[in-house]
Symmetry: C2
Subunit: 272 residues, 2 copies
């Protein structure tokens, strides 16, 4: 999916919502079996209930790998259930030496047919370039994450600014706004505008809304651009909105609520 | 496997060799089918031919994921073929926020029954602690990698030394030498002794011998301890020693050659 198609989808849906499919076997509602079939049924119902309100889905590979090859089958089948107009982001946080990253790129872009993958930066350019080199696909580089541990390394003072700033400066030379995005946590309000000034055109994938406590209005105030420039992810606050048999309806309502808030923001800015 | 057991295994085998199972479908010898069955058959023959000469195996998850759920099945079945006295390292380079890293830990330590996993550091402590918290398992943190891109971030000057030095200083407070190792590339001769001085007791997993050009003697000179402290990995130089139907025999000979070199080093140092 191209940048222009993504922007058009956001305008058409009045939504820049990404629904995170962090489907945890242990948190399936009681009316579903706690196995691979239950996970797939859960994802099917969540996707059906939320697809009207979002432009992207982000399956988190860890929750599928926890079931081994059976879980990977659920991942494959879940991705096939996602409507074709959605950006499918593998939240996989991969990254390795060049020939290995090439295998990961093949796994996620070719075999799984994802549109995008999250990638870890520590190993540098040749760990990232095999993803960037894939035509028509997106690389989403971890820049500033929403967890407490982000303080351990990302804020270290380096010669040209903090580590996350240095990373963004370097990475924007590797990939333009047509194929590279950054992960920037919603809980990092103080830094969001700094990050935006460093990457004025790149899309940010923003986790941390909902269960992690970030606020949508504030994020948009600090980092939205004329081309939107934001995909805001919510996982647990949508997919576990209810743990009863009404889980899909509750997920749909939670997604709708966020979408309406997004529509209002987009409208106030004259984007739609 | 405990540190003491690992050290004893190294002494018993006169080897600190780890064989990397980077099994690339496209590089299977012509007498094997280019599919999941071929990969498993290849791994079976490689493991049988090399197990006498090594103490660890390191399947690289990327090569299995490239085949999706079928590839994960090959990974599961390959791990079951590895003799019980070997350290099984999932070269997976995972790392995410706490609850997600917990799922990865479960995937690799419980479902796949690996002894160790390689972990990426960028997201900090809470991305690593779920691995460290697993009793009897090893976390192997990327510190100084052997690829060209390692120059992009790992050598950045931070207030308390380079980024990789800062990382090791911090991480050694998170995990002692009984459960934490570091990845330190064999191509980084200049830095190997610095890294050893920062982590005098931790084992290092050292890739980059063979196809990547690192030299075994030099690595041992700079970073071996009285407790050995090194697991030296070779992947492509062993498993692709021949691309003919004699691939297993050639792999065995390549592993034996490294093991004999290791035995000589261990003997000269009076460790065996």
């Amino acid at each position: 999916m191209s940048r222009q198609e993504l922007i058009q989808n956001i305008k058409d849906r009045a939504s820049f919502l990404c629904v995170g499919l962090d489907t945890d076997l242990r948190r399936l509602p009681a009316n579903l079996p706690r196995n691979a079939e239950g996970m797939l049924e859960f994802n099917r119902a969540i996707i059906e209930a939320t697809s009207e309100y979002c432009v992207a889905y982000k399956p988190n590979t860890a929750f599928y790998e926890a079931l081994g090859s059976e879980g990977w089958k659920v991942l494959e089948e879940s991705i096939r259930l996602i409507p074709k107009d959605k950006l499918v982001i593998a939240d996989a946080k991969r990254g390795d030496i060049g020939n290995t990253s090439g295998q990961y790129a093949s796994a996620f872009f070719e075999h799984l047919q994802c549109d995008a993958i999250t990638v870890a930066p520590y190993m540098g350019y040749d760990s990232i370039s095999p993803f960037l080199d894939f035509p028509g696909k997106w690389t989403i580089l971890l820049a500033l994450t929403s967890n407490a541990g982000s303080r351990d390394f990302q804020f270290l003072e380096c010669p040209e600014g903090k580590l996350y700033e240095t990373l963004i400066r370097k990475a924007r030379q590797w990939g333009g706004a047509e194929k590279l995005m950054f992960v920037v946590g919603a809980t990092r309000e103080e830094e969001l505008s700094t990050v935006r000034s460093l990457a004025p055109r790149h899309f940010f994938l923003v986790p941390g809304i909902g269960a992690q406590g970030g606020k949508l209005q504030k994020v948009c105030e600090l980092a939205m651009t004329d081309d939107i420039g934001l995909l805001v992810n919510a996982s647990r606050s949508i997919i576990y909105a209810s743990n009863g048999s009404d889980y899909a309806g509750a997920a749909g309502r939670a997604a709708k609520k966020l979408q309406e808030e997004m529509a209002s923001i987009l409208s106030k800015r004259g984007i739609i």
